[in-house]
Symmetry: C2
Subunit: 210 residues, 2 copies
DNA sequence: CGTTTATGGATACTGATACTATCCATCACA
DNA sequence: TGTGATGGATAGTATCAGTATCCATAAACG
Protein backbone atom coordinates (compact mmCIF):
# COMPACT_ATOMS: atom_id res chain seq x y z
CA UNK A 1 0.00 0.00 0.00
CA UNK A 2 1.34 3.41 -0.89
CA UNK A 3 0.63 6.64 0.91
CA UNK A 4 -2.33 7.57 -1.25
CA UNK A 5 -4.17 4.39 -0.44
CA UNK A 6 -3.29 4.69 3.25
CA UNK A 7 -4.83 8.13 3.13
CA UNK A 8 -7.96 6.88 1.40
CA UNK A 9 -8.55 3.98 3.76
CA UNK A 10 -8.07 6.03 6.93
CA UNK A 11 -9.50 9.34 5.81
CA UNK A 12 -6.36 11.17 6.91
CA UNK A 13 -4.99 13.61 4.28
CA UNK A 14 -1.64 12.75 2.73
CA UNK A 15 0.13 15.88 4.03
CA UNK A 16 -1.04 15.02 7.53
CA UNK A 17 0.32 11.50 7.21
CA UNK A 18 3.61 12.96 6.07
CA UNK A 19 3.54 15.24 9.09
CA UNK A 20 3.00 12.30 11.44
CA UNK A 21 5.88 10.49 9.74
CA UNK A 22 8.11 13.51 10.27
CA UNK A 23 7.09 13.75 13.90
CA UNK A 24 7.80 10.09 14.42
CA UNK A 25 4.23 9.14 15.33
CA UNK A 26 4.05 6.74 12.45
CA UNK A 27 6.91 4.41 11.56
CA UNK A 28 8.33 4.86 8.07
CA UNK A 29 7.06 2.52 5.39
CA UNK A 30 9.34 -0.06 3.92
CA UNK A 31 11.42 1.48 1.17
CA UNK A 32 11.66 -0.46 -2.09
CA UNK A 33 13.43 2.42 -3.78
CA UNK A 34 14.50 5.90 -2.64
CA UNK A 35 11.06 7.31 -3.25
CA UNK A 36 8.79 4.34 -2.97
CA UNK A 37 7.63 3.07 0.38
CA UNK A 38 4.94 0.59 1.24
CA UNK A 39 2.67 0.68 4.24
CA UNK A 40 0.74 -2.16 5.80
CA UNK A 41 -2.01 -3.03 8.23
CA UNK A 42 0.07 -1.87 11.17
CA UNK A 43 0.15 1.61 9.67
CA UNK A 44 -3.61 1.62 9.23
CA UNK A 45 -4.10 0.56 12.85
CA UNK A 46 -1.67 3.07 14.16
CA UNK A 47 -3.20 5.89 12.19
CA UNK A 48 -6.58 5.05 13.63
CA UNK A 49 -5.08 5.10 17.09
CA UNK A 50 -3.34 8.41 16.49
CA UNK A 51 -6.52 10.04 15.22
CA UNK A 52 -8.55 8.73 18.14
CA UNK A 53 -6.04 10.07 20.65
CA UNK A 54 -5.78 13.45 18.98
CA UNK A 55 -9.40 13.99 17.99
CA UNK A 56 -11.32 12.30 20.76
CA UNK A 57 -9.02 12.41 23.72
CA UNK A 58 -7.45 15.73 22.70
CA UNK A 59 -4.00 14.47 23.48
CA UNK A 60 -1.38 16.81 21.98
CA UNK A 61 0.87 15.40 19.27
CA UNK A 62 3.87 15.34 21.56
CA UNK A 63 1.85 13.33 24.08
CA UNK A 64 0.75 10.88 21.42
CA UNK A 65 4.38 10.38 20.51
CA UNK A 66 5.23 9.67 24.12
CA UNK A 67 2.37 7.20 24.44
CA UNK A 68 3.27 5.36 21.26
CA UNK A 69 6.89 5.15 22.27
CA UNK A 70 5.85 3.60 25.53
CA UNK A 71 3.68 1.09 23.67
CA UNK A 72 6.58 0.18 21.45
CA UNK A 73 8.96 -0.14 24.38
CA UNK A 74 7.56 -3.54 25.24
CA UNK A 75 10.66 -4.44 27.15
CA UNK A 76 9.90 -2.09 29.98
CA UNK A 77 7.62 -3.17 32.82
CA UNK A 78 3.91 -2.75 32.17
CA UNK A 79 3.54 -0.47 35.11
CA UNK A 80 6.14 1.86 33.65
CA UNK A 81 4.35 1.89 30.30
CA UNK A 82 1.17 2.94 32.07
CA UNK A 83 3.06 5.58 33.98
CA UNK A 84 4.30 7.14 30.76
CA UNK A 85 0.81 7.23 29.34
CA UNK A 86 -0.41 8.91 32.52
CA UNK A 87 2.27 11.52 32.35
CA UNK A 88 1.48 12.24 28.73
CA UNK A 89 -2.14 12.70 29.75
CA UNK A 90 -1.56 15.10 32.58
CA UNK A 91 -0.20 18.31 31.17
CA UNK A 92 1.26 19.93 34.28
CA UNK A 93 -1.74 21.94 35.26
CA UNK A 94 -0.84 23.84 38.35
CA UNK A 95 -2.65 26.67 39.92
CA UNK A 96 -1.30 29.04 42.50
CA UNK A 97 -3.33 28.75 45.68
CA UNK A 98 -2.99 30.42 49.04
CA UNK A 99 -0.73 28.48 51.34
CA UNK A 100 -3.42 27.39 53.74
CA UNK A 101 -5.85 26.38 51.00
CA UNK A 102 -3.11 24.21 49.55
CA UNK A 103 -2.14 22.81 52.95
CA UNK A 104 -5.73 21.84 53.70
CA UNK A 105 -6.12 20.25 50.29
CA UNK A 106 -2.87 18.34 50.63
CA UNK A 107 -3.96 16.98 53.98
CA UNK A 108 -7.39 15.97 52.73
CA UNK A 109 -5.93 14.19 49.72
CA UNK A 110 -3.34 12.44 51.86
CA UNK A 111 -6.12 11.18 54.12
CA UNK A 112 -8.10 9.95 51.18
CA UNK A 113 -5.16 8.03 49.77
CA UNK A 114 -4.43 6.58 53.16
CA UNK A 115 -8.01 5.54 53.89
CA UNK A 116 -8.32 3.87 50.53
CA UNK A 117 -4.93 2.26 50.70
CA UNK A 118 -3.94 3.79 47.38
CA UNK A 119 -0.22 3.95 47.12
CA UNK A 120 0.96 6.39 44.52
CA UNK A 121 4.18 8.08 43.56
CA UNK A 122 4.28 11.38 45.47
CA UNK A 123 5.48 13.01 42.24
CA UNK A 124 2.58 11.75 40.15
CA UNK A 125 1.26 14.70 38.15
CA UNK A 126 -2.31 13.58 38.80
CA UNK A 127 -1.68 14.03 42.51
CA UNK A 128 -0.67 17.64 42.07
CA UNK A 129 -3.69 18.25 39.88
CA UNK A 130 -5.98 16.70 42.45
CA UNK A 131 -4.58 18.82 45.25
CA UNK A 132 -4.86 21.98 43.18
CA UNK A 133 -8.40 21.15 42.17
CA UNK A 134 -9.49 20.56 45.75
CA UNK A 135 -7.83 23.81 46.79
CA UNK A 136 -9.49 25.67 43.92
CA UNK A 137 -12.92 24.29 44.79
CA UNK A 138 -12.49 25.50 48.34
CA UNK A 139 -11.27 28.89 47.22
CA UNK A 140 -14.32 29.14 44.99
CA UNK A 141 -16.57 28.37 47.91
CA UNK A 142 -17.58 24.90 46.77
CA UNK A 143 -16.82 23.05 49.97
CA UNK A 144 -19.94 20.95 49.72
CA UNK A 145 -18.57 19.26 46.60
CA UNK A 146 -15.23 18.66 48.20
CA UNK A 147 -16.99 17.08 51.14
CA UNK A 148 -18.06 14.27 48.84
CA UNK A 149 -14.59 13.45 47.60
CA UNK A 150 -14.97 10.04 49.10
CA UNK A 151 -18.05 9.24 47.09
CA UNK A 152 -16.21 10.25 43.94
CA UNK A 153 -13.40 7.94 44.92
CA UNK A 154 -15.91 5.12 45.42
CA UNK A 155 -17.34 5.53 41.96
CA UNK A 156 -13.89 5.78 40.48
CA UNK A 157 -12.80 2.54 42.14
CA UNK A 158 -15.85 0.94 40.65
CA UNK A 159 -14.95 1.51 37.07
CA UNK A 160 -11.27 1.10 37.55
CA UNK A 161 -11.97 -2.42 38.78
CA UNK A 162 -14.07 -3.11 35.69
CA UNK A 163 -11.36 -1.78 33.44
CA UNK A 164 -8.73 -3.95 34.99
CA UNK A 165 -11.00 -6.93 34.60
CA UNK A 166 -11.92 -6.15 30.99
CA UNK A 167 -8.33 -5.73 30.11
CA UNK A 168 -6.79 -8.75 31.77
CA UNK A 169 -8.66 -10.92 29.26
CA UNK A 170 -5.96 -10.06 26.72
CA UNK A 171 -3.78 -13.06 25.94
CA UNK A 172 -0.47 -11.43 25.09
CA UNK A 173 1.44 -8.83 26.99
CA UNK A 174 1.53 -6.46 24.04
CA UNK A 175 -2.21 -6.58 23.65
CA UNK A 176 -2.60 -6.09 27.36
CA UNK A 177 -0.42 -3.00 27.32
CA UNK A 178 -2.27 -1.58 24.35
CA UNK A 179 -5.63 -2.19 25.99
CA UNK A 180 -4.55 -0.56 29.20
CA UNK A 181 -3.24 2.50 27.47
CA UNK A 182 -6.17 2.90 25.10
CA UNK A 183 -8.59 2.20 27.92
CA UNK A 184 -6.95 4.76 30.15
CA UNK A 185 -7.13 7.45 27.55
CA UNK A 186 -10.32 6.83 25.61
CA UNK A 187 -11.99 5.68 28.82
CA UNK A 188 -11.69 9.21 30.04
CA UNK A 189 -13.48 10.57 27.00
CA UNK A 190 -16.14 7.91 27.50
CA UNK A 191 -16.69 8.79 31.13
CA UNK A 192 -16.71 12.47 30.48
CA UNK A 193 -19.34 12.29 27.76
CA UNK A 194 -21.47 9.88 29.77
CA UNK A 195 -21.31 12.23 32.69
CA UNK A 196 -22.38 15.21 30.64
CA UNK A 197 -25.30 13.23 29.26
CA UNK A 198 -26.35 12.06 32.72
CA UNK A 199 -26.18 15.61 34.02
CA UNK A 200 -28.14 16.96 31.16
CA UNK A 201 -30.86 14.42 31.59
CA UNK A 202 -31.06 14.68 35.35
CA UNK A 203 -30.80 18.45 35.51
CA UNK A 204 -33.51 18.79 32.89
CA UNK A 205 -36.24 17.30 35.01
CA UNK A 206 -34.77 18.33 38.33
CA UNK A 207 -34.76 22.05 37.65
CA UNK A 208 -37.46 22.38 35.07
CA UNK A 209 -38.78 25.55 36.59
CA UNK A 210 -35.81 27.49 37.94
CA UNK B 1 -8.18 48.26 44.47
CA UNK B 2 -6.23 49.07 41.31
CA UNK B 3 -4.96 46.61 38.75
CA UNK B 4 -1.57 46.17 40.42
CA UNK B 5 -3.08 45.04 43.68
CA UNK B 6 -5.55 42.79 41.87
CA UNK B 7 -2.57 41.21 40.19
CA UNK B 8 -0.72 40.78 43.46
CA UNK B 9 -3.62 39.21 45.34
CA UNK B 10 -4.48 36.75 42.59
CA UNK B 11 -1.03 36.02 41.23
CA UNK B 12 -2.15 36.81 37.69
CA UNK B 13 0.22 39.14 35.77
CA UNK B 14 -1.08 42.59 34.92
CA UNK B 15 -0.85 42.12 31.12
CA UNK B 16 -2.87 38.93 31.46
CA UNK B 17 -5.55 40.73 33.44
CA UNK B 18 -5.66 43.36 30.73
CA UNK B 19 -6.03 40.59 28.18
CA UNK B 20 -8.97 39.08 30.07
CA UNK B 21 -10.55 42.52 30.24
CA UNK B 22 -10.13 42.93 26.50
CA UNK B 23 -11.65 39.52 25.88
CA UNK B 24 -14.57 40.31 28.11
CA UNK B 25 -13.86 37.58 30.65
CA UNK B 26 -13.52 40.11 33.41
CA UNK B 27 -15.89 43.06 33.76
CA UNK B 28 -14.27 46.48 33.58
CA UNK B 29 -13.45 48.16 36.87
CA UNK B 30 -15.31 51.27 37.93
CA UNK B 31 -13.72 54.31 36.35
CA UNK B 32 -13.07 57.26 38.64
CA UNK B 33 -11.17 59.08 35.92
CA UNK B 34 -10.22 58.21 32.32
CA UNK B 35 -7.26 56.20 33.45
CA UNK B 36 -8.12 55.11 36.92
CA UNK B 37 -10.36 52.16 37.57
CA UNK B 38 -11.05 50.31 40.78
CA UNK B 39 -11.66 46.62 41.16
CA UNK B 40 -13.38 44.82 43.99
CA UNK B 41 -13.97 41.43 45.55
CA UNK B 42 -16.05 40.27 42.62
CA UNK B 43 -13.06 40.76 40.37
CA UNK B 44 -10.87 38.71 42.67
CA UNK B 45 -13.43 35.90 42.75
CA UNK B 46 -13.93 35.97 39.05
CA UNK B 47 -10.20 35.91 38.33
CA UNK B 48 -9.85 32.85 40.57
CA UNK B 49 -12.65 31.19 38.65
CA UNK B 50 -11.12 32.08 35.29
CA UNK B 51 -7.74 30.72 36.27
CA UNK B 52 -9.23 27.50 37.62
CA UNK B 53 -11.18 26.92 34.43
CA UNK B 54 -8.22 27.67 32.19
CA UNK B 55 -5.43 26.04 34.17
CA UNK B 56 -7.13 23.09 35.80
CA UNK B 57 -10.01 22.29 33.50
CA UNK B 58 -8.13 23.38 30.36
CA UNK B 59 -11.15 25.21 29.06
CA UNK B 60 -10.18 27.50 26.16
CA UNK B 61 -10.58 31.24 26.71
CA UNK B 62 -13.54 31.42 24.35
CA UNK B 63 -15.24 28.66 26.34
CA UNK B 64 -14.61 30.45 29.62
CA UNK B 65 -16.24 33.52 28.15
CA UNK B 66 -19.27 31.49 27.14
CA UNK B 67 -19.51 29.94 30.59
CA UNK B 68 -19.24 33.25 32.39
CA UNK B 69 -21.84 34.82 30.15
CA UNK B 70 -24.19 32.01 30.97
CA UNK B 71 -23.53 32.51 34.69
CA UNK B 72 -24.30 36.20 34.35
CA UNK B 73 -27.44 35.53 32.36
CA UNK B 74 -29.36 34.66 35.51
CA UNK B 75 -32.63 35.31 33.81
CA UNK B 76 -32.43 32.26 31.64
CA UNK B 77 -33.60 28.89 32.95
CA UNK B 78 -31.05 26.97 34.97
CA UNK B 79 -31.17 24.08 32.58
CA UNK B 80 -30.19 26.37 29.72
CA UNK B 81 -27.29 27.76 31.75
CA UNK B 82 -26.03 24.24 32.28
CA UNK B 83 -26.50 23.48 28.61
CA UNK B 84 -24.25 26.39 27.65
CA UNK B 85 -21.57 25.24 30.04
CA UNK B 86 -21.77 21.77 28.53
CA UNK B 87 -21.41 23.08 25.03
CA UNK B 88 -18.43 25.17 26.01
CA UNK B 89 -16.90 22.03 27.49
CA UNK B 90 -17.33 19.80 24.50
CA UNK B 91 -15.19 21.08 21.66
CA UNK B 92 -16.72 19.33 18.66
CA UNK B 93 -14.52 16.32 18.63
CA UNK B 94 -15.57 14.16 15.75
CA UNK B 95 -13.81 11.27 14.21
CA UNK B 96 -14.52 9.69 10.89
CA UNK B 97 -15.50 6.05 11.37
CA UNK B 98 -16.59 3.41 8.94
CA UNK B 99 -20.32 3.45 8.41
CA UNK B 100 -21.03 0.18 10.12
CA UNK B 101 -18.83 0.96 13.12
CA UNK B 102 -20.75 4.19 13.55
CA UNK B 103 -24.10 2.50 13.05
CA UNK B 104 -23.32 -0.12 15.67
CA UNK B 105 -22.11 2.53 18.09
CA UNK B 106 -25.18 4.69 17.52
CA UNK B 107 -27.43 1.73 18.23
CA UNK B 108 -25.58 0.76 21.38
CA UNK B 109 -25.68 4.28 22.73
CA UNK B 110 -29.36 4.63 21.90
CA UNK B 111 -30.04 1.42 23.82
CA UNK B 112 -28.08 2.67 26.78
CA UNK B 113 -29.97 5.94 26.91
CA UNK B 114 -33.25 4.11 26.59
CA UNK B 115 -32.49 1.53 29.26
CA UNK B 116 -31.41 4.21 31.69
CA UNK B 117 -34.25 6.51 30.88
CA UNK B 118 -31.86 9.34 30.09
CA UNK B 119 -33.53 11.82 27.84
CA UNK B 120 -31.06 14.05 26.07
CA UNK B 121 -31.11 16.45 23.19
CA UNK B 122 -30.18 14.44 20.07
CA UNK B 123 -27.90 17.30 19.08
CA UNK B 124 -25.96 17.31 22.36
CA UNK B 125 -22.27 17.41 21.49
CA UNK B 126 -21.51 14.91 24.23
CA UNK B 127 -23.72 12.42 22.44
CA UNK B 128 -21.74 12.68 19.24
CA UNK B 129 -18.51 12.33 21.20
CA UNK B 130 -19.83 9.26 22.98
CA UNK B 131 -20.85 7.59 19.73
CA UNK B 132 -17.52 8.36 18.11
CA UNK B 133 -15.62 7.07 21.12
CA UNK B 134 -17.52 3.81 21.18
CA UNK B 135 -16.95 3.42 17.44
CA UNK B 136 -13.25 4.18 17.85
CA UNK B 137 -12.87 1.67 20.68
CA UNK B 138 -14.39 -1.00 18.48
CA UNK B 139 -12.25 -0.08 15.52
CA UNK B 140 -9.22 -0.32 17.77
CA UNK B 141 -10.27 -3.80 18.85
CA UNK B 142 -11.24 -2.86 22.38
CA UNK B 143 -14.65 -4.46 22.41
CA UNK B 144 -14.22 -5.79 25.90
CA UNK B 145 -14.15 -2.26 27.27
CA UNK B 146 -17.17 -1.25 25.28
CA UNK B 147 -18.99 -4.26 26.67
CA UNK B 148 -18.87 -2.62 30.08
CA UNK B 149 -20.45 0.64 29.01
CA UNK B 150 -23.24 -0.07 31.41
CA UNK B 151 -20.94 -0.24 34.38
CA UNK B 152 -19.47 3.10 33.40
CA UNK B 153 -22.95 4.51 33.22
CA UNK B 154 -23.69 3.13 36.69
CA UNK B 155 -20.69 4.84 38.19
CA UNK B 156 -21.47 8.04 36.36
CA UNK B 157 -25.01 8.07 37.74
CA UNK B 158 -23.48 7.77 41.14
CA UNK B 159 -21.36 10.93 40.73
CA UNK B 160 -24.20 12.83 39.27
CA UNK B 161 -26.48 11.98 42.15
CA UNK B 162 -23.89 13.18 44.63
CA UNK B 163 -23.35 16.37 42.72
CA UNK B 164 -27.01 17.16 42.56
CA UNK B 165 -27.28 16.56 46.26
CA UNK B 166 -24.22 18.64 47.14
CA UNK B 167 -25.39 21.45 45.00
CA UNK B 168 -29.03 21.72 45.99
CA UNK B 169 -27.90 22.89 49.43
CA UNK B 170 -27.31 26.32 47.92
CA UNK B 171 -29.83 28.86 49.14
CA UNK B 172 -30.06 31.25 46.19
CA UNK B 173 -30.54 30.50 42.55
CA UNK B 174 -27.37 32.34 41.56
CA UNK B 175 -25.31 30.30 43.96
CA UNK B 176 -26.97 27.15 42.74
CA UNK B 177 -26.14 27.96 39.12
CA UNK B 178 -22.56 28.77 40.00
CA UNK B 179 -22.18 25.55 41.95
CA UNK B 180 -23.61 23.48 39.15
CA UNK B 181 -21.36 25.01 36.55
CA UNK B 182 -18.21 24.89 38.65
CA UNK B 183 -19.08 21.38 39.77
CA UNK B 184 -19.62 20.23 36.22
CA UNK B 185 -16.33 21.55 35.05
CA UNK B 186 -13.94 21.12 37.94
CA UNK B 187 -15.69 17.89 38.85
CA UNK B 188 -14.35 16.47 35.65
CA UNK B 189 -10.80 17.37 36.57
CA UNK B 190 -11.39 15.85 39.99
CA UNK B 191 -12.68 12.58 38.57
CA UNK B 192 -9.96 12.36 36.00
CA UNK B 193 -7.15 12.79 38.49
CA UNK B 194 -8.76 10.41 40.98
CA UNK B 195 -9.06 7.86 38.20
CA UNK B 196 -5.43 8.15 37.21
CA UNK B 197 -4.37 7.74 40.83
CA UNK B 198 -6.62 4.71 41.30
CA UNK B 199 -5.24 3.15 38.15
CA UNK B 200 -1.71 3.81 39.12
CA UNK B 201 -2.17 2.28 42.51
CA UNK B 202 -4.12 -0.74 41.32
CA UNK B 203 -1.96 -1.40 38.28
CA UNK B 204 1.16 -1.18 40.39
CA UNK B 205 0.43 -4.22 42.49
CA UNK B 206 -1.61 -5.99 39.88
CA UNK B 207 1.13 -6.20 37.28
CA UNK B 208 4.23 -6.00 39.38
CA UNK B 209 6.02 -8.55 37.31
CA UNK B 210 4.94 -8.11 33.71
C1' DC C 1 5.84 71.65 43.02
C1' DG C 2 8.25 68.70 40.32
C1' DT C 3 9.56 64.09 39.49
C1' DT C 4 9.06 59.29 39.54
C1' DT C 5 5.97 55.47 39.26
C1' DA C 6 1.61 53.25 38.10
C1' DT C 7 -2.51 53.05 35.26
C1' DG C 8 -6.00 52.46 31.37
C1' DG C 9 -6.35 51.70 26.77
C1' DA C 10 -4.78 50.69 22.21
C1' DT C 11 -1.90 48.22 19.13
C1' DA C 12 1.76 45.18 17.96
C1' DC C 13 4.52 41.28 18.71
C1' DT C 14 5.67 36.42 20.27
C1' DG C 15 5.95 31.36 20.85
C1' DA C 16 3.73 27.12 20.58
C1' DT C 17 0.87 23.88 18.09
C1' DA C 18 -0.97 21.35 14.24
C1' DC C 19 -1.20 21.24 10.28
C1' DT C 20 -0.84 22.76 4.70
C1' DA C 21 1.53 23.98 0.69
C1' DT C 22 5.18 23.87 -2.48
C1' DC C 23 9.25 21.85 -4.65
C1' DC C 24 11.73 18.54 -6.82
C1' DA C 25 14.00 14.52 -8.23
C1' DT C 26 12.52 10.01 -8.84
C1' DC C 27 9.46 6.10 -9.93
C1' DA C 28 5.55 3.20 -11.77
C1' DC C 29 2.63 2.41 -15.25
C1' DA C 30 0.18 3.25 -19.73
C1' DT D 1 7.89 8.48 -23.50
C1' DG D 2 5.02 11.04 -20.85
C1' DT D 3 1.80 11.57 -17.01
C1' DG D 4 0.67 11.30 -12.46
C1' DA D 5 1.94 9.75 -7.77
C1' DT D 6 5.62 9.43 -4.26
C1' DG D 7 9.28 10.43 -0.61
C1' DG D 8 11.56 13.89 1.48
C1' DA D 9 12.73 18.56 2.54
C1' DT D 10 11.54 23.19 3.48
C1' DA D 11 8.47 26.94 4.01
C1' DG D 12 4.04 28.94 5.02
C1' DT D 13 -0.45 29.41 7.64
C1' DA D 14 -4.08 29.77 11.28
C1' DT D 15 -5.24 29.81 15.88
C1' DC D 16 -4.47 30.45 20.58
C1' DA D 17 -2.95 32.63 24.82
C1' DG D 18 -0.72 35.57 26.24
C1' DT D 19 3.45 39.58 26.32
C1' DA D 20 5.40 43.87 25.15
C1' DT D 21 5.30 48.55 23.96
C1' DC D 22 3.37 53.19 23.76
C1' DC D 23 1.27 57.05 25.35
C1' DA D 24 -1.26 60.42 27.85
C1' DT D 25 -2.81 60.91 32.40
C1' DA D 26 -3.06 60.37 37.38
C1' DA D 27 -1.21 59.28 41.97
C1' DA D 28 2.48 59.22 45.39
C1' DC D 29 6.60 60.93 47.20
C1' DG D 30 10.22 64.16 48.62
Amino acid sequence: MRIGELSRTTGVPVPTIKYYLREGLLPAGELSSPNQASYGETHVRRLHLIRALIELAQVPVAGVKEILESLDADTEPLHEQIGRAHRALTPTRRLAATDDARAAATAQVADLLHDRGWSVDPDAPALATLVDTVAALRTLGQDSLVAHLDTYADAVERFTAVEIEAVTANPTRDQLAESVVIGTILGETLISSLRLLAQESISADRWKNR
